[in-house]
């Protein structure tokens, strides 16, 4: 099995707010991330797919095709968006890095022909990232 990783970047803003809680409780839980005008990040997403190289091409997946899938499923949805207001795919979840990774998995799963989605790593900043294996434990 070969694991192939492609990286994309998108810039987006968000804020953390749980409407079921009082403004004070939101402020206490989320601190400065609760500012309703939001704040932004340059997110970096690493998408790892698993598969065997096709004997005819030597490729697990055509990178051009993977790039197009990521442009359609990730960049068109998230790049230069205010996630709370413009990305309904979050489905009411608070747009933490954790929940964005879960949403990205849902958007990408089943969309990559010929290879299996194996792992997502989403950097919010160089010092903070999450890894997601579709709910499976880290290998």
């Amino acid at each position: 099995m070969i694991y192939l990783t492609r990286k994309v970047e998108f810039s987006a803003s968000h804020y953390y707010h749980n409407p079921a809680l009082s403004p004070e409780e939101n402020r206490r839980l989320f601190g400065k991330c609760n500012n309703p005008h939001g704040h932004g990040h340059n997110y970096v997403l690493e998408v790892t797919v698993a598969g065997e190289p096709d004997p005819a091409t030597g490729m697990v997946i055509d990178l051009k095709e993977l790039k197009q899938i990521l442009e359609r499923e990730v960049l068109a949805v998230f790049d230069h968006k205010f996630i709370n207001h413009e990305v309904p795919q979050l489905n009411g979840r608070i747009p933490t890095t954790e929940n964005i990774a879960l949403t990205l998995w849902q958007l990408l799963e089943g969309k990559i022909p010929g290879a299996r989605l194996h792992h997502l790593r989403l950097y919010e900043t160089p010092d903070l990232f999450v890894d997601y294996y579709g709910g499976r434990a880290r290998p």
């Binding site: 953390y16 954790e98 929940n99 879960l102 903070l128 990232f129 890894d131 880290r138």
Partner: protein
């Protein structure tokens, strides 16, 4: 399961030396790392916690809690320190980055309660890094 990783940095010095061995043997094993005056590194520490995002917050762990625990327990202890002087952490072992990585893992594992600590990764330089996730069966 989501894995969230936070990166920290600290600077410390050490001398690789095992007092139970002869001077010549220390010199042979550790080479220039055995210099009696020690030498320093800018360490980069990655702490990974595992869990499901809590529905109310969307977070696996509140980063402010993780940051303050790591600051208090790890950075205040090891930043700008001469590691060989830390007799609790290195009572019977040279302060190699392997041993430091394992010591940090145990400090976090036993002290941090807000989320399970999954692994610790410690970069000594840009070219070498050590990772510890506890002892697993079969290892």
């Amino acid at each position: 399961m989501i894995y969230l990783t936070r990166r920290y940095s600290f600077s410390a010095s050490h001398r690789l030396h095992n007092p139970q061995l002869a001077a010549e043997l220390n010199q042979r094993i550790y080479g220039k790392c055995n210099s009696p005056y020690g030498h320093g590194h800018n360490y980069a520490l990655e702490v990974t916690v595992a869990g499901e995002p809590q529905p109310a917050t969307g977070m696996v762990v509140n980063l402010a809690e993780l940051d303050s625990f790591v600051e208090r327990t790890i950075l205040e202890r090891f930043d700008q320190a001469y590691l060989n002087d830390d007799r609790d952490a290195f009572a019977s072992a040279a302060p190699t980055t392997e041993n430091l990585c394992r010591a940090i893992y145990h400090l976090l594992q036993t002290g941090f309660c807000a989320a399970p600590v999954e692994r610790v990764r410690l970069e000594e330089t840009s070219w070498n890094a050590f990772e510890y996730a506890g002892e697993r069966e079969g290892e």
